[in-house]
C-alpha cells in the first residue's frame, strides 16, 4: 500500500467514525434527518449505479425494487417480525421480482430501450396496483411511534448505506465487475472474449434489486407514516438516475457525491420554489449529460488538473502515441484511427 492510499484509507475510516458518532454529539434532529436522507439517497443511487452505471442497462423502474422493499419490510415489521428478518425479506423479494423483467429481456437479447421501457412499465404497473389494493396510509406500530428515536435508526441506516457501498465496491473490483463493464462497453466484444453477457447482466440486476430493496427496507423503518404506493411513485425511479449522473456514473463515489449534492440542493429548492424544483433538476440533469458526462467526479478531476498542471492521468495522449508503427518507430504522418464500428 502506498502512503497516499494509506492516508486516503485513514481519512475514510475517520470520516465513517465521525458520522457514526454524530448522534451522540447532541446535534438537532433536523440535522440527523438530513443525514439519514443522504444515506437513503446514497443507497438508492449506488444500487441503481450497479446495473445502470457499470453494466450499461438503463433501468427506469428502480422504484419497483425500492417500493417492494418498503412494502415487504413494512408489512413484516408492523406485523411484529424482527427488524432483521423484515430487512432481509425486503432485499430478497425485489430480486425475485427483478427476474420477471431480467430473464426475458436479457435472454431474448432485447437490448437497451426494450429493457428500459420494460422496467418503466413494470414499476408503473406496481405503482397503480399497490395504490388500488392498499389505498391507506401505513403507520408504524403505536408503541414504536411513542418511543420513536432517531439515534438507533440513524445507525441502522448508516450501516445499511456502508454495506451498500461496500458491496458495490467489492463487486466492481472483482472479476465479475470487470466483466460487467466489458458488457457495457461492447456486448459482442465481451461475448467474443468468453464473457457470458446474459449471466453478468442478470447478476448486476439481482444485486441492484437486492440493494434497492434494502434501501426500501431502511426507508420503511425510518418513516413513521406514508401511503403504501408512494414509494412506488416515479420520482423514486428518476431520482437515482439524476443523482448518479450528477455525481458520476459508473464510479463508486459518484452516487455518494451526487446524493449528498442532490439532498442539499433539493431541500433548499423545495423551501424556495416548491414543486418547481423538479424542473430545475430536469434541466440540471440534461446539462450534466450533455456537457459533463462524468458528472461532479469529472468536474473535480478537471479542476485538479488545472491547478496541479499535471498531465491528465490515463486520459492524455502520450507523445509517442501520436504516430508510430507497430514496432515503435516514429511515423507521424501515418496515424490513423480505426473506426469502432
Amino acid at each position: 500500500m502506498t502512503a497516499k492510499k494509506g492516508i486516503s484509507l485513514a481519512l475514510l475510516v475517520a470520516g465513517v467514525a465521525a458520522l457514526w458518532l454524530v448522534p451522540s454529539m447532541g446535534v438537532s434532529d433536523s440535522l440527523l434527518n438530513l443525514l439519514i436522507l443522504m444515506f437513503i439517497y446514497t443507497m438508492l443511487a449506488s444500487s441503481w449505479n450497479i446495473l445502470g452505471g457499470y453494466t450499461g442497462q438503463v433501468n427506469l423502474g428502480h422504484a419497483a425494487f425500492f417500493g417492494l422493499g418498503t412494502l415487504v419490510a413494512r408489512i413484516l415489521y408492523t406485523g411484529g417480525r424482527p427488524l432483521f428478518l423484515a430487512l432481509l425479506a425486503a432485499c430478497v423479494v425485489p430480486v425475485a421480482f427483478s427476474m420477471l423483467i431480467g430473464i426475458p429481456a436479457f435472454r431474448l437479447r432485447l437490448r437497451g430501450d426494450y429493457f428500459t421501457i420494460g422496467t418503466l412499465a413494470l414499476s408503473q404497473i406496481l405503482y397503480i396496483t399497490i395504490g388500488n389494493v392498499l389505498p391507506k396510509i401505513t403507520y408504524l406500530p403505536i408503541a414504536d411511534i411513542q418511543n420513536y428515536q432517531l439515534g438507533p435508526r440513524y445507525h441502522i441506516i448508516l450501516a445499511s448505506a456502508l454495506f451498500t457501498i461496500g458491496v458495490a465496491y467489492a463487486l466492481v473490483k472483482s472479476r465479475l465487475g470487470l466483466g460487467m463493464v466489458a458488457v457495457r462497453e461492447n456486448e459482442d466484444a465481451a461475448e467474443s472474449l468468453g464473457i457470458n453477457a446474459f449471466a453478468h447482466k442478470l447478476l448486476a440486476l439481482a444485486v441492484s434489486a437486492f440493494l434497492g430493496g434494502l434501501t426500501g427496507g431502511a426507508y420503511a423503518y425510518y418513516q413513521t407514516s406514508y401511503y403504501f404506493n408512494y414509494t412506488f411513485s416515479p420520482p423514486w425511479s428518476l431520482e437515482p438516475v439524476t443523482m448518479t449522473f450528477i455525481g458520476g456514473v459508473g464510479t463508486i463515489h459518484g452516487p455518494v457525491i451526487g446524493a449528498v449534492f442532490f439532498v442539499l440542493l433539493k431541500e433548499w429548492l423545495v423551501m424556495k420554489v416548491g414543486e418547481y424544483h423538479l424542473i430545475i433538476f430536469g434541466v440540471l440533469f440534461l446539462l450534466v449529460v450533455l456537457f459533463l458526462p462524468g458528472g461532479l467526479v469529472e468536474a473535480w478531476e478537471r479542476i485538479r488538473r488545472v491547478f496541479t498542471h499535471r498531465p491528465a492521468g490515463k486520459i492524455v495522449l502520450s507523445p509517442s502515441a501520436e504516430g508510430s508503427d507497430l514496432s515503435g518507430n516514429s511515423l507521424a504522418s501515418e496515424r490513423k484511427e480505426v473506426p469502432m464500428i
Binding site: L178, D188, L193, I315
Partner: protein, 233 residues
C-alpha cells in the same frame, strides 16, 4: 480441427450464407477472401457463435458448436478478433488484456500469457497503464489481437486486421500474424487485402454471394485467372 459443412445463415429475412463448407487444419493459416458483403464476417460470427446457422453444421475437434453460446466456444479454444478490434476504449491496456483471460482455463496462466503477449507486442507493455482509447490505430489492432491471444486459443479468427491501417503497418501486421501462427495457433484470416492474404496463407477460400467459389493453396489462387481479374486488377 474446424469444419463447416453446408452452413446456411442470415439476419431476419436476409439470407447471407448459402451452404458454406470449409475447414481449418491444426496449426494452419487459412485465408477467406472475397468482396464486400460476400459473407466473410458472417462466417466468422457463425464460428464464434455470435450467430447461429439455420442449417448445416459447425464442428471443432469433432464437437458440434451449433448449440454452444459464444462464451463456451471461447473456452473450447476459438477466439475472434472482431473487425476494427472493438477494444474497450475506456479501460487501460492491461485491463483489456485481463479481460481476454476471462475464461477459467485462461485465468490459470494469465501471468505467463501476458508476458508472451508483451513480448509479441512490446508497444502494449509500454502503454499498459494508458487508456486504450488513446492508442493509435495500429496499437489498437495489436491490443485486439493480444486480447484474443490471452484466451489461449487454438484457433484465432481475424476479421480484417489490416482495416484502416497504413500500408507499412499492414505489412508488419501480416508478419505478426505469421509469427503467431508459427507459435502453433491456427488462424482463419478474413481479408479484403486479397493479395497480401493469399501470399500469407497456406490455403485460401474465395467467397462470393455467400458461396465458396474457389479453394486452393494461396499461391495457386494468386495465379488463378478469375481471382486475378476480380481482385488483383
Amino acid at each position: 480441427m474446424l469444419e463447416l459443412e453446408g452452413v446456411y445463415a442470415g439476419y431476419k429475412d436476409l439470407r447471407v450464407l448459402w451452404g458454406i463448407s470449409l475447414r481449418v487444419g491444426e496449426g494452419e493459416l487459412v485465408a477467406l477472401v472475397g468482396p464486400n458483403g460476400a459473407g466473410k464476417t458472417t462466417t466468422l460470427r457463425i464460428i464464434s457463435g455470435l450467430l447461429k446457422p439455420t442449417a448445416g453444421s459447425v464442428r471443432f475437434y469433432g464437437c458440434s458448436l451449433d448449440r454452444e453460446p459464444p462464451h463456451r466456444i471461447v473456452e473450447m479454444g476459438i477466439s475472434q478478433v472482431p473487425e476494427g478490434g472493438r477494444i474497450f476504449t475506456g479501460m487501460s491496456v492491461e485491463e483489456n488484456l485481463e479481460l481476454g483471460a476471462f475464461t477459467a482455463r485462461a485465468r490459470r496462466e494469465k501471468e505467463q500469457r501476458m508476458k508472451w503477449v508483451y513480448q509479441l507486442f512490446p508497444r502494449l507493455e509500454e502503454r499498459k497503464n494508458q487508456r486504450a482509447g488513446t492508442l493509435s490505430g495500429g496499437e489498437r489492432q495489436m491490443l485486439a489481437i493480444g486480447r484474443a491471444l490471452m484466451a489461449q486459443p487454438r484457433l484465432l479468427l481475424l476479421d480484417e486486421p489490416s482495416f484502416g491501417l497504413a500500408p507499412i503497418l499492414v505489412e508488419q501486421m501480416f508478419e505478426m500474424i505469421q509469427e503467431i501462427n508459427q507459435q502453433d495457433v491456427a488462424v482463419l484470416l478474413v481479408e479484403q487485402n486479397v493479395r497480401a492474404a493469399l501470399e500469407l496463407a497456406q490455403r485460401a477460400y474465395v467467397i462470393e454471394n455467400g458461396r465458396i467459389v474457389g479453394e486452393g493453396s494461396g499461391d495457386a489462387l494468386l495465379s488463378f485467372e478469375s481471382v486475378r481479374s476480380a481482385y488483383l486488377g
